[in-house]
């Protein structure tokens, strides 16, 4: 588990803090935060990450745009991405998945679900 790097792209400080709180339960992970889609894109293209949590509704650049740009980069095509959104409808889920997201979490977020998704996408046991 040592050395796993996770990127959180979320404009809400409350949500960022909750995600960090949940993910820090995994030992040895390095978590980097981005405040919007553009900030997230800068970070993901300049550094290596093993997983990204991306909020959909963000200023400057929304999450769906960010995901499509990430998937357009050859070296990022396989990076696991979990989308976080307020939208619970099945169509929204399918849209996010069709754009390249691997998993989908709806608000209100539960810390244990964040942890479970992270472990699954990082292929960790326990």
């Amino acid at each position: 588990m040592a050395g796993q790097r996770i990127l959180i792209v979320e404009d809400s400080p409350t949500m960022r803090q909750l995600l960090v709180f949940a993910l820090k339960r995994m030992k040895g992970v390095d978590i980097v935060e981005a405040q919007d889609g553009m900030d997230g894109l800068r970070k993901v293209t300049s550094d290596h990450f093993d997983l990204a949590f991306v909020d959909i509704n963000m200023p400057v650049m929304d999450g769906l745009k960010l995901i499509s740009l990430i998937r357009g980069e050859q070296n990022l095509a396989q990076m696991p991405i979990c989308v976080i959104t307020t939208e619970g409808a099945k169509e929204d889920r399918e849209r996010a998945i069709s754009l390249g997201a691997n998993e989908y979490l709806t608000k209100p977020i539960q810390a244990n679900k964040v942890l479970a998704v992270a472990k699954a996408l990082l292929k960790l046991e326990g």
Binding site: S12, P13, T14, M15, Q17, L18, F21, A22, T86, E87, G88, A89, T106, K107, P108, I109, Q110, A111, N112
Partner: protein, 277 residues
């Protein structure tokens, strides 16, 4: 006696001798067979004798085996009982683990909410944090934040989500679900059968969370609609309501006081600068 008669006599003697020799050999074989059979007989008789003697020993051995079986069965029962006990304990541990995980989850949400509420003294930032908590941690789609106008009994909407602030009506302290919750200082849940839609379309509140500082009402958070995937309110939501009722009110009050004191400080500083010029 003639030669022929001599030869004939010799031949007859050889034949008799051969017969006697064959007879002797046959007799020897018979005797050997007899000895062997006698030996076997004596062995059989010996075994028969021994078998006849171990009936009591067989009974004793059977008794010992039965005791051993009973002992092993008792041990087996004891082990099964221990296994059931361990399984029961494991189940209790698993249930307790789930409870602890849920509690941990809830505490994480409450910690983050509390931390964020008290992380700023800017009134607009405090309101923004309240909006984030209600959207992200409770899961509300349409809601408004009300404050009591100073010197009046009116609740004025100051912030909202899902609808513009102008869509939220002015409310009266003491009247209706919201007014009642503010007066009594208790969270009030709306009619579960109500549409819970936006206020601009006549929707009724789903829940009213009174904001109080030192038992003095300062406002309310009124939720009109929950997110689609939110079924209802959980124990965590009730905890968040309680947290918001106290901490959000304190945060708003403190940030306003700070803002006022900052303004007064600037004013006083301005006067001092004027006087000292």
């Amino acid at each position: 006696m003639s030669e022929t008669e001599d030869n004939l006599g010799a031949d007859r003697g050889d034949a008799v001798l051969a017969i006697f020799q064959r007879g002797a050999e046959f007799t020897k074989q018979i005797l050997e067979e007899n000895t062997r059979l006698r030996r076997e007989l004596s062995e059989v008789q010996l075994r028969h004798g021994q078998a006849a003697q171990s009936d009591t020993e067989w009974d004793k051995l059977r008794g010992e085996l039965i005791s051993k079986i009973e002992e092993l069965e008792n041990q087996n029962d004891a082990i099964l009982e221990q296994l059931r006990s361990v399984e029961g304990e494991n189940l209790q541990f698993a249930e307790r683990y789930v409870e602890v995980e849920e509690e941990n989850n809830n505490l994480a949400n409450l910690y983050v909410a509390s931390y964020q509420l008290h992380s700023t003294l800017d009134p607009s930032e405090v309101v923004k944090v309240i909006l984030e908590i209600v959207i992200n941690l409770i899961g509300a789609e349409i809601f408004g934040v009300y404050v009591i106008e100073e010197g009046t009994d009116e609740l004025r909407p100051v912030a909202s989500e899902g609808e513009p602030v102008s869509a939220f009506p002015m409310l009266q302290v003491g009247e209706g679900l919201v007014g009642r919750s503010v007066t009594e200082g208790e969270v009030e849940l709306g009619d579960p059968g109500a549409s819970g839609g936006p206020p601009s379309r006549g929707g009724e509140p789903v829940v009213s969370i009174p904001l109080r500082v030192d038992d003095r009402p300062v406002g309310a958070i009124v939720i009109y609609k929950l997110l689609q995937q939110k079924d209802g309110f959980s124990a965590l939501d009730n905890e968040l309501f309680t947290l918001l009722a106290g901490h959000a009110a304190t945060a708003i009050f403190a940030s306003r006081l700070y803002a006022q004191s900052e303004r007064k400080l600037s004013t006083i500083q301005g006067f001092i600068d004027l006087l000292t010029k």
